[in-house]
């Protein structure tokens, strides 16, 4: 546990003077994400900037330094019977909360419990001028100023180095169980959405290999009564299945083929693609494995009300995120300039033009 913010600030100021580009790195477990990092950039190492700054369980709020490992945060929360409700995916023990925010990563409970973006309440950020800025706060509701904190989710460090994060935490559910049954791909989208529309304690809905998995969690009585009512077998080791989805170590993901992430409308038809598909988030997130033409997938995603990105593998020197319309490109370029006028942070990591 250490506060190295002064050192980080000094490095940014020095980099600004030398026009030295910087790659922000935490645990390094998400190096495969985004476009290939700039080889000439210097590392801005956040992994030593660690520790829980403040945690008041009854307030449901925690403030941590960005380099703190997700596993350490979850251990501290578990002692108080609380958790990160957005179920952060971890691609290794070293995964940090800062990286999770930068990549906007959330697990299977996302449609019901929200994403990391939804839970973030405040950040401390070093911008490209080396200014140490605070936005948001340590309270649930705060509409003073623009929501710069949530803006960082998915920005992949292009706006600055987030050094501290305040976020909402929640009580862990009293119990969980998983119902599993066979179902053809053609029926599953309707089924999942119908279930998600009932007032029941559902916190997971996924489909893979011809089986649909529904997770129920919350008060014991409610979970048991719903399991009784809904079809499907109670799955042994249900929690393990959801953890495999969360951390993407389910065997579906165990392949060197390019991995595409469709983030689409929950009721949209499945993309007409040959190859394995995994459906999560009650239809809102669909994973596809295989070689494909990005432009073709983008038009499929658009018809499905969403976007596609090349999550892992493939050619990462080209664009890997769904392209942006011109007006939104302009706004994002200007935003980048407003935070990082010299273009120091993570150049080209999110888009070639950022």
């Amino acid at each position: 546990m250490a506060d190295v913010s002064e050192k980080l600030k000094a490095q940014v100021l020095q980099a600004r003077k030398n026009r030295q580009r910087l790659n922000i790195v935490g645990g390094g477990t998400k190096a495969f994400m985004g476009r290939t990092a700039d080889g000439d950039a210097q590392t801005l190492d956040l992994s030593k900037h660690t520790g829980i700054v403040e945690y008041h369980p009854v307030e449901l709020i925690m403030t941590v330094r960005a380099g703190t490992r997700v596993a350490d945060i979850e251990a501290a929360l578990a002692e108080e019977g609380q958790c990160l409700h957005f179920e952060p995916p971890r691609f290794g023990d070293a995964s940090t909360l800062g990286g999770t925010l930068a990549c906007n990563l959330s697990g299977p409970a996302r449609p019901w419990s929200g994403s990391i973006r939804d839970q973030v309440l405040g950040v401390r950020l070093l911008n490209g001028k080396g200014e140490d800025l605070r936005f948001g706060g340590q309270v649930m509701k705060n509409v003073a100023g623009y929501d710069v904190s949530r803006l960082q989710a998915g920005a992949m460090g292009t706006l600055g180095a987030v050094t501290e994060i305040s976020l909402k935490v929640m009580p862990s559910p009293a119990m969980s169980l998983t119902l599993v049954q066979d179902m053809p791909q053609s029926d599953v989208i309707h089924y999942m959405n119908q279930r998600a529309g009932e007032s029941k304690p559902i916190t997971g809905a996924a489909w893979v290999d011809g089986k649909v998995f529904l997770r129920l969690s919350g008060a014991r009585s409610a979970v048991e009564a719903t399991a009784e009512k809904w079809s499907g077998e109670v799955m042994e080791q249900g929690d393990a299945f959801w953890q495999q989805l969360q951390h993407m170590n389910h065997e579906f993901f165990n392949s060197d083929e390019p991995l595409w992430r469709f983030s689409v409308g929950s009721t949209a038809s499945n993309p007409e693609l040959d190859g394995p598909l995994l459906i999560d988030w009650a239809g809102s997130q669909r994973w596809y494995r295989g070689e494909a033409d990005m432009a073709k997938l983008e038009s499929m995603a658009k018809r499905a009300g969403g976007q596609v990105s090349l999550f892992r593998g493939g050619d990462r020197t080209d664009e890997v995120m769904n392209h942006q319309p011109e007006a939104l490109q302009t706004i994002q370029k200007r935003l980048k300039e407003s935070f990082d006028p010299d273009g120091l942070f993570n150049p080209g990591r999110l888009y070639s033009w950022l």
Partner: protein, 490 residues
């Protein structure tokens, strides 16, 4: 606004009338009068003119014209805002979205609704009720306020601890930019690639763009909801009870607190059967499946008793539940009845400082010679002190403002913020200098310029100029010093 407008009122009106029904380009003082303020009626200004477009294409043309000529544009929904965010600019246009009032599409399976921004918040839930769905955020003004305004303010309501704010309940917005581009931010999916502009737009108080369409998420209606009402003989005990509920792992659908003043006023108004001798009252609503609600209600009742509640009562029917809420929801008009005017504040604090903050507020109440009643979204730390005053007494509003300012400073001091859900607008612009330093405020200005290079969208609101802040801070400092000197002599 960077420069003065380069077009006269008459010329601008003439240009608007080319593509907008001339009846809805308003230029005379009498018809413009209702637009001079929003729900924060202490702050008034007459606009240059008022325009009511009815299509996004018209909004685009309005924005292009105003951008070209440097004319300020203030977007307006139902005008229920409580921070003067929709107060007109005297050299600018009020762009009313009142004609954008249609529900465009409801998808019960996907649980979404596509709306024009002028659709009223409550109308959404009414419209989808027969699908057994509702829209989560429920600000007190939900009968009148519109979804466009909710996006501008990131509105919450009594259910936001469990169901989130506007930012958590929308999927996309169609925005007309200051330069007249029409863009879709977000989509039908839960996450989008790139920077989260949807979050940035939400709560931006009309400073970044004009929202012309909103897609919201809908929630399945809970099977049942019940309220436990608990009276306490001290605010401290009630505050501890809130912590107790949360520590027990229960996230109530709503968790509200009122102080003694508010209890009596609300009970007089609504005959809700509140314990009138209590110093603090908690309303704790639990919703979900029947089994879950029963389990949690029993836990909550036992907890409140254990933590020193002087009375505990649980609603046994929908009528009883509605009555218990009626008191809380009518707390503002109820207080309005016992005072000629009231001023509603909106600070947030870490809940553990509640007793301290209320005690300090009592001291301020004596110092300023003004009464204050408190209603509190206890679950999420959002305080609504209501300062009672009489606008007809010279100097009393100024004293009220100063009292309010001191409350907000106190909120920041204990780690909270100056506005939880009402926005900064004009009203709290001074306190922005307390919550943020110059570098942070400059970053806000730079961020705005990315959306609005000419600075025509709602200028003078939300973020103060640095010059203004320096003056305010030095004034505060002098005042503080003066008080210290007086205290030392006193």
């Amino acid at each position: 606004m960077k420069n003065r407008p380069t077009i006269s009122k008459a010329e601008l009106a003439e240009k608007f009338r080319v593509f907008i029904d001339p009846d809805f380009v308003i230029t005379d003082d009498e018809t413009m009068k209702p637009y001079e303020c929003d729900g924060m009626s202490m702050y008034c200004e007459m606009p240059l003119l008022v325009v009511l477009p009815e299509t996004p294409a018209q909004v685009q043309r309005i924005m292009r014209l105003c951008n070209e000529h440097g004319v300020p544009v203030v977007a307006r929904g139902a005008g229920t805002g409580l921070s003067a965010g929709a107060m007109p600019h005297k050299e600018g246009v009020v762009l009313s979205l009142a004609k954008f009032n249609r529900i465009l599409e409801i998808d019960p399976l996907a649980r979404t609704a596509r709306l024009q921004p002028g659709v009223r918040n409550l109308a959404i839930s009414e419209e989808v009720s027969h699908h057994n769905l509702y829209y989560g955020p429920d600000p007190s003004s939900q009968i009148a306020c519109t979804i466009g305004g909710n996006v501008a303010e990131n509105s919450g309501g009594v259910h936001c601890l469990k169901y989130g704010l506007t930012v958590h309940n929308i999927l996309s917005v169609e925005v007309i930019t200051a330069e007249g581009d029409r863009v879709l931010i977000g989509n039908d999916a839960l996450d989008s690639c790139g920077m989260d502009l949807l979050a940035l737009m939400t709560g931006s108080e009309g400073l970044l763009g004009i929202v012309t369409e909103v897609k919201v998420k809908l929630l399945p209606k809970p099977e049942i909801a019940q309220v436990v009402m608990a009276g306490f003989d001290s605010v401290q005990k009630a505050g501890d009870a809130v912590g107790g509920i949360i520590s027990a792992g229960i996230i109530p659908g709503g968790l509200e607190m009122m102080d003694g003043y508010a209890i009596v006023a609300a009970d007089d108004f609504a005959q809700a059967g509140y314990p009138r001798d209590a110093k603090a009252l908690l309303l704790c609503e639990v919703d979900g499946t029947r089994e879950e609600v029963q389990e949690h209600i029993e836990q909550a009742e036992a907890l409140f008793k254990k933590l020193g509640a002087t009375s505990v009562k649980t609603s046994q029917s929908e009528e009883e539940r509605a009555l218990l809420w009626k008191g809380r929801k009518s707390a503002f008009p109820a207080v309005g009845r016992i005072s000629p005017d009231y001023y509603c504040m909106d600070g947030t604090i870490p809940r553990r400082h509640l007793a301290h903050v209320l005690l300090e507020m009592e001291k301020m109440s004596e110092k300023f010679g003004l009464r204050v009643a408190n209603v509190f979204h206890a679950g999420d730390g959002n305080l609504h002190p209501l300062i009672l005053f009489d606008a007809n007494v010279p100097g009393e509003f100024e004293r009220t403002e100063a009292f309010g300012g001191s409350i907000l400073n106190l909120c920041v001091e204990v780690g909270g913020c100056i506005t939880g859900e009402h926005g900064v607008g004009v009203e709290k612009i001074r306190q922005m200098a307390v919550q943020f330093n110059d570098e942070e405020l400059q970053q806000f200005h730079d961020l705005k310029a990315a959306f609005d290079p000419m600075g025509i969208l709602n200028p003078g609101k939300g973020v103060p100029t640095l010059k203004f802040c320096q003056e305010y801070r030095s004034l505060e400092h002098k005042q503080h010093k003066h008080e210290m000197v007086e205290a030392a002599h006193g």
